[in-house]
């Protein structure tokens, strides 16, 4: 299954990138992310905890970076990675070949802004895999909305909303009639972005090995030697992981009866 979309964030690209570099920010933005550690030069491990119908689940994921292209002069930064996660309780695994981009934007109304784009080639296998596309595609939009809301709140200097507290708030429930697309929520809420600039760590732009094999089967240890930019990638991957996992079990489904 191929999933691709993008959402705007009301802050300059470098600021978004900087926020990506702050683990605490990410932990608060990524639905259910409780851990994110680097295990070696090219591998990372994390843990996501979520609830489905009041049952808590824990899923571990690992990430492996296959290429990095750093943004320059308005070009987007691009991260390509393979991510694997597993939820034993649900007898399910996920593999995702992910491409994340952060593109600088400037809008006349709001000043600085950036576009966060993603493209996932998603393979969900096991019990969850047989749920079919409907649930998974729908979950993508929901998780994207949650993440974008959180990131927008951080950009705006507001507290990150806790999950569940906004139930129904942005949803295109039957009463609204207009069927507002979910992704429009955070964008519309992105009024104030007057937060002081954040120094970008690791802003040096090493000569990335821009193009790569793309086979999704990287040779261990052959990752580009760009430690300065590495954390950025990891955090980008965490976003991807959150998307992937949240798509699966980020929220109760099936409803209460």
């Amino acid at each position: 299954m191929r999933l691709a979309s993008s959402f705007p964030v009301p802050a300059a690209a470098d600021k978004v990138v900087a926020l990506f570099l702050d683990p605490e920010t990410m932990r608060s933005c990524i639905p259910g992310c409780e851990e994110l550690t680097r295990t070696d030069d090219s591998h990372y491990a994390g843990r996501l905890v979520n609830e489905v119908a009041h049952v808590r689940f824990t899923a571990r994921f690992t990430a492996e970076i296959t290429s990095v292209t750093h943004g320059q002069d308005g070009d987007p930064a691009v991260v390509v990675a393979v991510l694997r996660g597993e939820d034993r309780r649900l007898g399910s695994t996920i593999r995702m070949d992910a491409t994340l981009t952060v593109t600088p934007r400037t809008t006349p109304q709001d000043g600085d802004a950036a576009e966060v784009g993603y493209e996932f080639e998603l393979a969900v296998r096991g019990k969850l895999g047989r749920l079919g596309e409907a649930v998974i595609r729908r979950r993508t939009a929901e998780v994207e909305r949650q993440f974008a809301e959180a990131l927008t709140a951080v950009c705006a200097g507001r507290p990150v909303p806790r999950r569940g507290e906004d139930a129904g708030g942005h949803d295109d429930g039957p009463g609204s009639g207009a069927g507002e697309p979910p992704a429009a929520g955070p964008a519309a809420a992105a009024g104030s972005s007057a937060v002081g600039s954040v120094a970008v760590a690791g802003a040096a732009t090493p000569s990335a090995s821009g193009v790569h094999s793309g086979t999704g089967d990287p040779v261990p240890g052959s990752s580009p030697a760009v430690p300065a930019g590495r954390d950025r990638l990891v955090l980008g991957l965490a976003v991807a992981a959150a998307f992937a996992y949240g798509i699966l079990v980020g929220e109760r489904w099936g409803g209460r009866r």
């Binding site: 119908a53 009041h54 949803d171 039957p174 489904w253 409803g255 009866r257």
Partner: protein, 287 residues
């Protein structure tokens, strides 16, 4: 109050509504068991983990279907089949009777309940489309008391409803269908005949002073049931009325692509369902 064990699940059998709501309040992870048609399928797939089921079959009154001064009161445990066949439902809310009669097949309709149906919260359910255009109200009860939620506000998100922890659906009330109104339910499948709808539309045309109030309930075309309404004014002919309906439906449709069709195809079927339903209603009104 009883208690029995179905493999790893504890099934509670409260004898009163108070016992039921107390269980729902006190248990951490409980599901209300009505007809069980959805629960048993999800459980068989290993995707439902609730440890406690609260079977409300013994709670008095929940299976009552009664007429009230302004319409129907449908107890949560009234089977869908009864909604389809009951003479009072057919007389007071013919659109509801027609729509309930289109759910799955008789075996499911004999078992599934009116309350469980909406609590399932699936975006493709048939009855919510009719309940939305008929302006039904959902009655939710918890240990703290009872509250009412318009069916139009009941579906809050993809497979999410307004039912909160500790609550259960106890009844649905439906105002009687206006005497001169004409309604119909159009259900379009893309695969086998007993499948979920690929797209569906309940349409009710209510003549008012100088205009016709058109109400649309769309199923399967967005993450939740969609309710829409607009007026057909005397200066509009049927084609313009249809165009307006399609325009407004188009603005609200957000179909999820799956094995039953792409988003584009589902929207196409949605437009056809709306058009068919509306033409039928306007023709009946004119005739």
């Amino acid at each position: 109050m009883g208690w029995s064990q179905v493999s790893a699940v504890r099934v509670h059998h409260p004898d009163t509504l108070d016992e039921a709501t107390a269980l729902l309040r006190d248990l951490d992870d409980a599901l209300v068991y009505g007809g069980g048609t959805a629960i048993s399928v999800l459980r068989a797939q290993g995707l439902l983990f609730a440890q406690d089921w609260v079977d409300i079959a013994r709670v008095p009154g929940l299976a009552d279907l009664t007429t009230t001064s302004d319409g129907l009161r449908i107890g949560a445990l009234v089977p869908l089949r009864r909604m389809e066949t009951d003479p009072q439902v057919r007389r007071l809310t013919p659109l509801a009777a027609q729509t309930y009669g289109r759910v799955a097949h008789p075996r499911v309709r004999n078992t599934a309940t009116a309350g469980g149906n909406i609590a399932h919260g699936d975006y493709r359910l048939d009855p919510p489309t009719a309940l939305a255009v008929l302006d039904a109200t959902v009655h939710l009860t918890s240990a703290a008391g009872t509250r009412e939620v318009s069916i139009r506000e009941f579906f809050t998100g993809f497979q999410q409803t307004a039912v909160a922890h500790g609550e259960l659906v106890t009844a649905i009330t439906v105002p009687r269908q206006p005497e001169r109104a004409r309604g119909t339910y159009v259900k379009l499948r893309s695969l086998s005949e007993n499948d979920w709808p690929c797209a569906s539309a309940a349409v009710l045309a209510v003549p008012e002073d100088g205009f016709v109030d058109i109400r649309l309930g769309l199923g399967g075309l967005a993450p939740t049931t969609v309710y829409l309404a607009y007026d057909v004014t005397p200066d509009m002919d049927v084609e313009q009325a249809v165009d307006a309906a399609i325009d407004i439906a188009d603005s609200a449709m957000d179909p999820i692509p799956d094995i039953r069709g792409s988003a584009r195809y589902k929207a196409r079927l949605g437009r056809i369902a709306v058009e068919e339903g509306l033409r039928h209603c306007l023709k009946e009104l004119a005739g």
